[in-house]
């Protein structure tokens, strides 16, 4: 086939960039970690830091992180601030409304362990991990945007190590059998 003939049917096909060989786990993990959409809700001053992380100066968008306004569309629950007992019920409910796979980042001292309210804060939940499972803890009061980005990158690492096909439940069962 010469070039004129080829141009008539839409150009020469070189085969470059047509096929990528990868593991299914890697593909899924890459897709998940490249579009971690957090639920855009703030609880206290940490939320301000979250907003500035999303602003143009720090640009969370470059990691594919776009705040969503519905738990149904969110992948990451970012607990940004003081969780009071009154709010804890709501946080739990939002977590339950999210679709799997879902992750939780606990941002700042309050969400980690109660922060400055640990002793006399009768109204503050002493760590959001008492209500929902947490994947990454970001320390700070409040954490700087760099620290929050660090937290998201830690979550990247965690997602990278996941496997859909690995029979985790079976492995756990075998472990139990072996112990007994």
């Amino acid at each position: 086939m010469n070039e004129t003939e080829a141009s008539e049917i839409g150009g020469l096909k070189t085969g470059e960039g047509g096929i990528i060989v990868s593991k299914l786990d890697d593909l899924l993990n890459w897709a998940r970690l490249s579009s971690m959409w957090p639920l855009g809700f703030g609880l206290a001053c940490c939320a301000i830091e979250f907003f500035s992380t999303a602003s143009s100066a720090y640009d969370l968008d470059r990691f594919g992180i776009i705040p969503r306004n519905s738990p149904r569309q969110a992948d990451v629950l970012l607990v940004s601030g003081t969780v009071t007992f009154k709010m804890a019920d709501r946080v739990k409910r939002l977590y339950e409304q999210m679709a799997e796979p879902k992750y939780v980042i606990s941002m700042g001292s309050c969400a980690n362990c109660g922060g400055p309210y640990w002793e006399h804060g009768y109204h503050v939940l002493k760590g959001v991990d008492r209500v929902i499972p947490v994947d990454v803890y970001v320390p700070g009061c409040p954490p700087r945007p760099e620290a929050l980005i660090g937290g998201f990158l830690k979550l990247h690492e965690k997602i990278k190590s996941e496997s859909v096909l690995r029979p985790v439940a079976l492995e756990k069962l075998m472990e139990k059998e072996n112990e007994a």
Binding site: F85, Y122, L125, K126, R130, V131
Partner: protein, 160 residues
């Protein structure tokens, strides 16, 4: 208008309604008998010489078990004459209750709910007296001196 003049005005209308005064308080305060609070507030709000048209703040105060009293403090402000006044009321700590001033100043609605929420002070004739900050099923009144937080709330441990 000075504190003494305000005092005179109140006493001329309701004798024996004032227990004392505190010039050092900021703003200067009148200590009032609780059963007169509604009438006095209404008088101060509607009298054209005082015209306290704004309730700036309403706070609760617990003096502890030893003193056996609770207080409600009213901070009044008159916009046209730029007048400030504080009213203080002492209540029995075991059954703290006082008439609501919600019908005089709408602001009192949420302020009184807050005092009820945190101190357990009951405001008679308040139309919507329920907790405002804490959840409805909270036990106890946290700003009381002898408050002990509940062990668990919705099955979650409260203490660290």
């Amino acid at each position: 208008m000075k504190l003494s003049q305000i005092k005179e005005l109140v006493l001329s209308e309701y004798p024996n309604s004032i227990v004392g005064e505190d010039e050092n308080a900021s703003p200067a305060a009148l200590l009032v008998k609780p059963q007169f609070i509604f009438q006095i507030c209404e008088l101060l709000q509607s009298n054209e010489k005082t015209y306290f048209d704004q309730l700036s703040c309403l706070s609760g105060l617990d003096n502890g078990e030893e003193a056996g009293t609770m207080e409600v403090i009213y901070n009044l402000y008159c916009i046209p004459y730029d007048l400030h006044l504080m009213l203080k009321v002492e209540l029995d700590r075991k059954h703290p209750s006082i008439d609501s001033v919600m019908d005089i100043w709408k602001t009192a609605d949420w302020h009184e709910r807050e005092a009820y929420d945190l101190f357990g002070i009951h405001f008679n004739k308040h139309k919507d007296l329920r907790r405002i900050l804490l959840p409805n099923d909270w036990e106890g009144f946290p700003l009381r001196k002898d408050y002990v937080e509940q062990e668990r709330y919705h099955d979650v441990k409260v203490k660290y």
